[in-house]
Amino acid sequence: MIDVSSSRRKESKGDEDGFTRYVMPELDVLMRVARSITGNSTDADDLVQDTLLRAYRAIDRFDGRYPRAWLLTIMRNAQINRVRRKRPELMRDPDTTLAVVANTDSDAKTPEATVLDKTFDAAVERSLAAIPEQFREAIHLVDIDGLSYNEAAAVLDVPVGTIMSRLHRGRKLIRNDLTMDPEYDRASS
């Protein structure tokens, strides 16, 4: 448990309630997105902590609308500051993107179906790693991190239409790549 300095206590009950109400339910999402945009769990932890502190300081000015988008905007700004202070790139290295092998529900499938699904998942993973980074970012935030278009737009600081366009183009590239992939042909036939 962290000690709390009495001189720094916020007296406003409203701030306390706002933090509990708007920030606490979003911790899982913040952790996932932080992992996506930093590329490692250590930096992700630091980024989420930084985001929480910034949110705490700003909660009395928050109007209560779209808390997730508000927090993701705070996270984006925090990350920009962190990158300025340090060195790394905003998004993870393309070569290490999605290094995790797909985890399929093997209990519910035949061994053959499981193998085919893993083959398909591996082909999708290869295709995702091969597309331009800005498309991959959008796909990662929406499909893997589960953000809405508005929330992904807040993270990347681009219009919602840009998110839609990047998703469309990125997924089309993956789709086209898969149809030319012999491994996919085997998995889908």
């Binding site: 709390v4 916020k10 606490m24 952790m31 929480l52 399929t104 998942d121 499909d143 839609m164 998703l167």
Partner: protein
């Protein structure tokens, strides 16, 4: 699909469905458009197959989602709870 019968029934064309297919699959499409897209996908084999392909890709991508590390999550939750309950933790600049 016959052009005139489509116009008469105010049904969507393949091009119109293609333009909103990603929004439909992401549950981001306007509610009044959803039944029209669904109806087209059921009737049009090509668009139906296209939607199935993109759904499969999306499902595969979703399967990459990892739950945050339990230890990290516990630490972050403790910090958030301290902030919610009292104020800025000791040693952290306000």
């Amino acid at each position: 699909m016959n052009f005139l019968s489509r116009i008469f029934r105010r049904e969507m064309s393949c091009e119109q469905v293609g333009a909103v297919l990603q929004q439909y699959l992401d549950d981001e499409l306007e509610a009044d458009q959803v039944p029209k897209v669904l109806k087209h996908l059921e009737a049009c084999k090509d668009c139906g197959l296209e939607a199935t392909m993109y759904t499969r890709i999306k499902d595969s991508l979703v399967s990459h989602q990892q739950a945050p590390d339990a230890e990290s999550m516990q630490r972050i939750r403790a910090i958030a709870q301290d902030l919610a309950a009292a104020g800025l933790p000791e040693g952290i600049d306000g």
